[in-house]
Symmetry: D2
Subunit: 367 residues, 4 copies
């Protein structure tokens, strides 16, 4: 096993609070044993370019004071050095010439191991680079929490804090207004934020992309909950809906942000506005009002949970590299951080929301 | 001057954090001199009905623990015992039979003076009831801060806290994404929240209902700021837009929430989605994304500023009643709380945003 | 197995944010299957007294709006119906006549199963009552997190949020002042709050009751870290110390809050003031300043993590009772909530802080 | 009037949230008219030294992203180029050779006007330098809010937010514990933080340096309030005490932090621990517990109020310099920012807490 003297690190995909805490831990852990850390900027674009604008040594000083800050000091991008192709009905990722550029630049900068922090796209690249001889360790990071191989990804609990705070705020004012307050949260493929946030914030209806058994939701069901609450003299309802939830009325079609909707024009607000309009047609005695949290959920400072998780992931990622354990991600399993093969973790993506939590919603929610 | 032995109190209009602190102060101040306080529920609906469901004595115990809670323990409504009529081209408010109901119920419950907490509608009723022999004191409350006669209304600074917190969150993530983040805030007639929140949160563009000299804004100007920032290598812009802002492209027509827009269908999201769509057409290298704070701005706990203001207003409202000073509101003037005639305060509604702050936006903003 | 128709619930020991969320979940879960819930007030004092002042039915309405509030709507106490005795060098708990009172009152109120929410004292009583024929289920709750049988107890993450927020605040001002900022946190027997809070808040020194191998800390070591940082031109240090940490200079004696200290008089502030005074004698170029968080750590609203944990614990506690699974606590194991025998869980109390976290402190902290 | 081409700026005294917002506004306002800004580090030490380590140009880039951060990017110190002397029973400030150093360095760096941000010490120097031909503008900044010439100084409302949040937290837990919770807040000479924070946070007792008419407080009076509340079945009390409050039992002597107390040894915690000990002797059925907020009050992010105030002060300070208005501070008067002569403002220091607020405490507090 060749000695590790210099570790590279990059951050890819959508950012989330906690990334900087991971970078800080990586640098501190590495310097404790005399290993250097080199940062690559703008996700995979960094090692592809490999020039001065994209490569910077990270010193202890550079990571001082970033424990709690959101965003990423290295910047991010969605650049992918592999190309998605369909072959014989299967999806395959073919290397482009950028893969060779990465290999050359890592060699040029004497990088012995590369730590990639990101979601399934970023970690997928890390895994495939392993087949090309690059030694990588992944750190799972996404507010959507839909990466396999770990109980929680960095950023999820911080996003939860934002959603829960929003629901708390709406509850204080909801009593005074006879309204249906619809809150759209993130989650294109999975309902982690909607379910955890909705439960923590006491939502009356929670709508997720996973949907009921049939895979989508109906406005009738939403209306029923609201009317049942009205009968109990509860003159408001709070509905949490994930951006990727699909209405049965549209044949389970997604009415997602930024896409052309059923009306033939761009509905930037997506499913929540569609739902509001449908409820409006039902002539409820409550006016629907929409709040779209959007990028608020990526923002803010990292919660203690995410700082601890990120710190532990950063420490372990360096230790895996030092021990020669590659092609893995740092996975939280209970209270331990373990090395989980990337192949295994990626096979579970997108990880659906914990069914036990869906059961909890069912047995106590909306009553 | 007849002795005051029993004071009535009600809360009307949209709620905001701080109302409960005012109720607590009213009860504490009154009980300190042996005066009883009776609460009327659901705004003016309370004294109109005057039954057990709408009338409740408020004891010290009832207002314990509500200093910081949002909403109003008395509930609210938009019921108005006067009817708006046009006569000879002028708007007049004609009393309905509800005015007599109020007078009868106040007499029945032995109310010597009535404190009304609310915005211009609620305070307008209080003033007109004065002409019918009802002794009232008003307390200004609205997150929009557009009531005359006071530097600040209860709720404004709490709404600011929510808007500023949202902008802080967006700033942490904005660097990582090449986007125009559009944040829609409240303000149908005035830009108080947009200007104060935008300045406190460091927005790059602030668009208000008052508009530039011409009374509306143009997408061209917004685009210019974004492009100027791009030239300075700032790869994101944050735009704060008040819900009541009117685009010049539509002839200064308001594209407000819940109304039929220029496209002939209901644009629940209003001006911010319209702006996003217009910017999208300009083919900027930044994708526009919309956050709609909506009712979040009414929610949450009251800030220290609002608690102090509400406490002082509550104390003074009782004292005005005890001193026989009626048909006034409690107005903050610098650091003092004064009795301002309701007629004078209402004549200034809607109070436009402080021009000095607009000047500050101009000399330091968006650079 | 006799059918369960009525469940009792009580909360004991020091309170912490999240208890009310558990009560809400218990009531919602029970009512979903038609089971009644009776609340007992003031911990074990409730079933001991069994009178109207201490017994109250809990309806859905009673637990509405308490999802996020701190404290406990049932009140708490440290009353213990058993008496601690030393016999043959061993500690034994002997039943007092209060045990019979509890049994009689549970029978009188037709309680089929009793859910006890609290720390090791409260859960210890629950376990010993089992030997007297009372069917109990425990829910672990303590900000100290030192209960066995569960990864986390309700309240711990909320306390962490307070400590971390305090450290964030101190960091912003620490740069401007040449000071050693000492922050005393809770933890008489274990360093959970100190280690997790210190790591999440970026403390430079973390001192715990578990101490280094020798079981206590020395001022020399603290001084060394501060001086090493000074050499690196870091003109401040932040020290987190658990209230139960024991200085080696005093022979490992605890200098705890409210107790008579080595100087023969009451040192209400405890170890942190002692440490400040010792550092002062060392003539460092930095003035030591003490912040004592004290009861702040029990206060505030529950974090999303604690709300979810408490909700899941409440749901499962009812389900264990319905299934006839008694003398257990609801234990978080990874992402699952399991039934852990109380005997086993209590045997592990006080649970020492996770050694892996102490290792993380060692490899990256204070550098 | 000579043209202003280059403005210097420094920050002195204890820091507080909002300073950086002022620096940002100064730079933005100056650059808008092509004026350069030079920062001096570490308070008056900066222009005294005048070397590269203490002098740095401030560009728009340098002040980007600091709108909400606490602390000061320029650092601070308590260095004073004048010496305090007693002459004929009067205090006079005599210039040391450092005054000449300042003049020489300002000339060397071509500084046309100097903006000093700080409390009475820092602004006192600015005023006295005026007598030596230096053109200065002051910006009042201190969490204590005891500077004359302005309704509020930068930092006060941010400190209030911290104190109020602490009291909110204590209230949630206070019900469950039979305790007297004593919270020590800042304020050596005036009770601004104690009174405003105590009112906003609903404290039951508020003790200030100004004291009752006699100039100090008695433990008897504190005990009376606590016992009266006990009679009303309120089993806890929250006491806010300013660090500079003086107990009548000690002859009105201050028991301040870090000083030798009546017991002959250093009581780092000061008056709050003394009060706890005295209450303990009274054998109340409630145990006293102390929380010392200390430097937490200087920390954290600036509130919207402070950001707006600081931004407006920064803009106006530059404009005063451009207009040739010197030897003034930027004073908030109602909603306007005015130029207030430094001599006049300093003559009012320390500004005692607004008596109207003390009256409010008296008529509604502690009941």
């Amino acid at each position: 096993m060749p000695e590790v003297r210099r570790i590279g690190v990059l951050t890819g995909g959508g950012d989330s609070p906690g990334i900087n805490a991971a970078l800080r831990a990586i640098v501190r852990r590495a310097y404790a044993v005399g290993v250097e850390v080199i940062g690559f900027r703008d996700g995979w674009q960094g090692p592809i370019e490999g020039d001065d604008r994209h490569v910077c040594p990270l010193s202890l000083e550079d990571v001082s004071g970033i424990l709690y800050t959101g965003g990423t000091i290295l910047g991010t991008s969605r650049t992918n050095p592999f190309e998605k192709k369909e072959r014989d009905g299967e999806t395959v990722w073919e290397p482009t010439e950028k893969v060779e550029a990465i290999k050359a630049n890592l060699k040029k900068h004497k990088i012995d191991a590369l730590i990639a922090i990101g979601g399934d796209d970023t970690l997928g690249v890390a895994h495939r680079l392993g087949e090309h001889g690059v030694r990588t360790v992944g750190i799972p990071q996404t507010i959507d929490n839909d990466i396999g191989g770990t109980d929680y990804a960095i950023g999820f609990h911080s996003a939860l804090a934002t959603v829960t705070d929003a629901l708390d705020k709406l509850h204080t004012t909801a009593h005074a207004h006879h309204r249906v307050l619809i809150v759209e949260v993130m989650g294109r493929d999975s309902g982690w934020i909607a379910v955890y946030g909705g439960l923590a914030g006491g939502a009356d209806v929670i709508i997720v992309p996973e949907g009921p058994p049939e895979g989508s939701f109906s406005v009738d069901e939403v209306e029923q909950v609201i009317r049942r609450r009205l009968e109990q003299n509860k003159r408001f309802s709070i509905v949490v809906v994930a951006e990727g939830a699909r209405p049965r009325e549209l044949g389970g079609k997604q009415v997602a942000s930024g896409e052309v909707d059923a009306f033939g024009h761009v509905q930037l607000g997506g499913v929540s506005y569609w739902l509001a309009e449908e409820l409006r047609k039902r002539k409820l005695p409550l006016t629907p009002r929409v709040t779209v949290l959007a990028y608020l959920q990526r923002g803010g400072i990292a919660t203690p949970f995410d700082r601890l998780l990120a710190t532990r992931f950063g420490v372990k990622a360096v230790e895996f590299a030092l021990e020669g354990v590659y092609d893995v991600l740092t996975g939280l399993r209970g209270t331990a951080v373990e090395a989980v093969p990337l192949a295994q973790a990626l096979a579970e993506c997108p990880k659906p929301v914990d069914p036990e939590l869906l059961r909890v919603v069912k047995v106590i929610g909306g009553s």
